[in-house]
Symmetry: C2
Subunit: 132 residues, 2 copies
DNA sequence: GATAAGGGTTCCAGCAAGTGGAAGGTCAAG
DNA sequence: CTTGACCTTCCACTTGCTGGAACCCTTATC
């Protein structure tokens, strides 16, 4: 398979696949003409990567997960630990965004949104210092 | 005020303040020795920026908001529109993360997390193609 | 007068995770 | 033989900073 085929079948852009090779996530063979030659195994890895990235795992998480995926003697506890840590971060991010959302929608409700210059949104932004 | 003073009072790192000047968000005066010399007005802007960034507005949003903040003839509708668009993006991001979280926590529940290699997490990652 | 600490200055490099584009090689069809 | 769709590499750019190097300014201390 050429890169276009695995791109279509994995759903990942060719550019992204080349990038993944670049950072050492896979090492496809090469044809005589220099084209990358993918085998089913690589396609599986790419699908794996696409899915893991879609779930928000970082590239480094993906690298670790892929190593476990390749390791027949892995312990599922290792996979679960990575997933759990990621889940915690996702949940933290959700909480963060929810707090933003609440503040924002409150401010928006307060703002008349008409032709007058008075604006509680601007007022809030200029008066509440960022909590460090 | 030197950069250290406004850094302490705004809660923003000095590096960030220099960066904001670099991208044209403010233009503090300079002392004879080349040091930046901030006035209260600049401090207000920095506070504004810190707060807006904490609420997740992009730098370009901040630039627009700051221009409105500076404009006495602004219409609050313009501010409200920017805030509303941002709110929509925040809500979309929340929905996205929630969907990730649900999938993740489901997979984690399924995984024994013991010394055996069988792992529903890896199985899922390798079989579900990324939806494009 | 030397020096050390603690400001400040500039510029260059790098992070994540790709994306866009230029310049060019290859292959199959008409 | 040329056209068009592929493929290749390489370099630059994105967002929003952050770290570090190399250097200047000011004040205090010995």
């Amino acid at each position: 398979m050429n890169i276009g085929d695995v791109s279509a079948r994995s759903g990942l852009p060719a550019k992204t696949i080349r990038y993944y090779e670049d950072i050492g996530l896979l090492k496809p063979l090469r044809d005589a003409n220099g084209y990358r030659s993918f085998q089913e195994k690589e396609l599986h890895k790419l699908t794996f990567l696409g899915r893991a990235r879609a779930l928000g795992f970082t590239i480094e998480d993906c690298r670790a997960l892929l190593a476990l995926y390749d390791d027949d003697t892995r312990e599922s506890a290792d996979v679960k630990r990575i997933a759990n840590e990621h889940l915690k971060q996702v949940e933290a991010k959700i909480a963060d965004l929810k707090s933003m959302r609440d503040t924002l929608s409150h401010l928006i409700d307060e703002c008349a949104g008409d032709h007058r210059p008075d604006c509680p949104i601007l007022k809030d932004l200029s008066t509440h210092k960022v909590s460090n």
